[in-house]
């Protein structure tokens, strides 16, 4: 077994404290170490992808304890892919945070960033249900710190809401785990799958309760519609780069649903039915409310947040099919929507940095209007799901996967109508911000800033661009994310084959169970 499987957890867990202990007062050193750490994480993720590509499920036994008793990490195609996606998004967004100067608006940005990555990577790797809870808490507590980075009254208040909502979600998670443990007597996911399969059908009432509770927990994290209320204010008030990183956090919830409902619960037909019945309507409402929210909001940060909610809706429609084709579409769309949402949040932050606020209203022409407009144009095409970018391919795949489904008419109608709404809303926002501003004439040339010393007091989006150390870095990082989307479009064939292989592996849970429980001797 390769020890590098645990590296995505260990690496940020080591770099984070080092940054706090040794580099507390040296921002440049923090930046170098933190970016190097994230780049290394991306390298490890590429290696792990190559490892997982073989089709085996790799198991890492912590302390080499035998599986149902010790804690295991599991690496399969899906976790490797999610690790790579996390690392790429984190690297690009971190470059943006450095380039735009966000990381010096408060203290400990880079340390919190590393802890956040540790939690996310751990959640994707773990094969133990309680460990999943612990990694959720790690990523949440780091996200609380990142969310209020830079301070400000509105941001803190949104942060309190965010914490309260997620603490309630955590208690729900514990309740779900408690129920599942009391029924199955194990917390190891593979072992749980075995026990669930062996359970007589008349004894599964509590098990079903536990399964639905668990789905609710993941739905809170993924911001599925009746449970999405925490998202708009949180994402709109979080610093731009942090909101962009949070694009992967909702996917952690989606990952949890895919993982549990392909590995642990597929043996019980009733659970599958109940969950699919709940999940599909919730996904349709999520999509509709997300896209209508784009149209209704008057704040560009909220616009991006509602776009993120809408993409979760599309994703969940595919997940709720619970068949290999749907899962493959979900995997492809997940990669696309993470990159697109991240890019959109960063572009909104660029607009905020240049205009001084994010209200969707007529204002003077901002500096670099053409450049930001071009970036927004590309990102909006991706988010709305218009050809030629990968959002279109992703939506097509989702629609193809739902063609045999009973509610096909509703699903297709929702996807198509909400896409139209999103196109209109994004086009309207773009033309108000970028084009109509010319009616007011160019902005008065701002007076050069008196002194560009270090600025640590909290304030809203960066007012003076002279404060940003490397604006080109910010633009380059957005271009990096957008080029990821273009690559996903150009290489749609190989990407789709990868997604299909991932889905095939997910829908064959016996391989996990045997890798974790039966093939133990050979690994020692």
């Amino acid at each position: 077994m390769s020890h590098l499987i645990i590296a995505p957890v260990i690496l940020p867990a080591v770099i984070g404290p080092l940054i706090i202990l040794w580099m507390r007062n040296d921002l440049m050193l923090q930046r170098v170490f933190s970016i190097a750490g994230t780049a290394l994480l991306a390298g490890v993720a590429i290696y792990l992808n190559a490892l997982a590509m073989g089709g085996d499920v790799h198991v890492y036994r912590l302390g080499n304890w035998a599986a149902p008793f010790g804690i295991v990490l599991m690496l399969d195609r899906l976790s490797a892919l999610m690790l790579l996606l996390t690392a790429v998004l984190a690297l690009a967004v971190q470059l943006y945070a450095v380039g735009s100067g966000w990381d010096r608006k408060g203290r400990h940005f880079h340390a919190l960033w590393q802890f956040q990555l540790m939690g996310i990577c751990g959640a994707f790797l773990t094969g133990d249900a309680f460990n999943l809870f612990v990694f959720f808490e790690v990523l949440l507590i780091a996200s609380y710190g990142l969310m209020i980075h830079g301070g400000g009254g509105m941001r803190l208040r949104a942060g309190v809401q965010y914490i309260a909502y997620n603490l309630a979600g955590s208690t729900l998670f514990l309740a779900a785990l408690g129920v599942l443990y009391s029924v199955t007597g194990t917390l190891n996911m593979a072992d749980m799958a075995l026990r669930v399969a062996a359970m007589p059908a008349e004894d599964t009432a509590l098990l079903r309760t536990g399964a639905v509770l668990l789905m609710l927990v993941f739905a809170v994290k993924a911001a599925l519609v009746p449970l999405h209320f925490w998202l708009p204010s949180t994402y709109a008030n979080a610093p731009g780069p942090v909101a962009a990183l949070f694009a992967i956090m909702t996917k952690v919830g989606v990952y949890g649903i895919i993982r549990f409902f392909t590995l642990v619960f597929p043996q019980d037909a009733v659970i599958e039915g109940v969950v699919a019945d709940l999940l599909l309507p919730a996904a349709l409402f999520t999509l509709a409310i997300g896209q209508i929210g784009i149209l209704g909001t008057r704040h560009l940060g909220r616009l991006a947040a509602f776009a993120a909610i809408g993409s979760i809706g599309t994703l969940m429609i595919a997940v709720a099919q619970f068949n290999p084709q749907g899962t493959a579409a979900a995997v492809y769309y997940m990669i696309h929507s993470t990159l697109a949402a991240g890019a959109l949040f960063l572009i909104m932050d660029m607009i905020g940095a240049r205009r001084g606020d994010l209200w969707l209203r007529l204002e003077q022409v901002m500096p670099d209007n053409g450049l930001v407009a071009a970036l927004y144009f590309i990102a909006a095409i991706a988010v709305a799901g218009m050809p030629p970018l990968s959002g279109f391919i992703g939506k097509l795949l989702v629609m193809q996967a739902t063609r045999p489904a009973p509610g096909m008419v509703w699903i297709w109608a929702t996807i198509l109508i909400t896409s139209l709404i999103a196109i209109y809303a994004l086009a309207r926002a773009g033309s108000i911000v970028f084009w109509k501003s010319y009616e007011l004439g160019p902005a008065p040339v701002p007076a050069p800033p008196a002194a560009t010393g270090p600025k640590l007091e909290p304030d809203e989006p960066i007012q003076d661009l002279g404060d940003a150390p490397a604006n080109w870095l910010a633009v380059a990082s957005v271009l990096l994310l957008l080029s990821g989307i273009v690559a996903l479009t150009a290489l749609a064939g190989p990407a789709l084959r990868l997604a299909e292989a991932t889905a095939a592996q997910l829908h064959n849970p016996d391989a996990y169970v045997s890798a974790v429980l039966e093939a133990q001797e050979g690994t020692k």
């Binding site: 507590i141 208040r157 949104a158 942060g159 309630a168 309740a175 408690g178 008030n237 606020d357």
Partner: protein
Amino acid sequence: MELLLSGAIGMLTAAGVYLILRLRTFAVVLGMTMLSYAINLFLFATGRLVVNAPPILNEAGGPYTDPLPQALVLTAIVISFGMTAVVVMMALGAFLEGGDDRVDMPRADRLPPAPQSQDGDV
């Protein structure tokens, strides 16, 4: 004993849910604490309730209680304790910055300030 414990869990949960639905941060923090107490007791009970038995197998094969939920409760207590500390600090920060301890977002979060008054309202 089952009745006593389940009653206690139920009452703590009900009180916790009521409190986290209040509009002031202090009540919400108290509600979080209540909920986490309830969930800790609940986790403790998932290993079944056994009286006067050690959480370890002994050679004589006597009664024992499941040790795993106890370990889980310990982890959950530590985490919820840390989270409560974080939420208290955040609530304090929001109170000092914003001037009141309401939980809901003000109107100025959603709508641009009117052209005349720059400060929003409520």
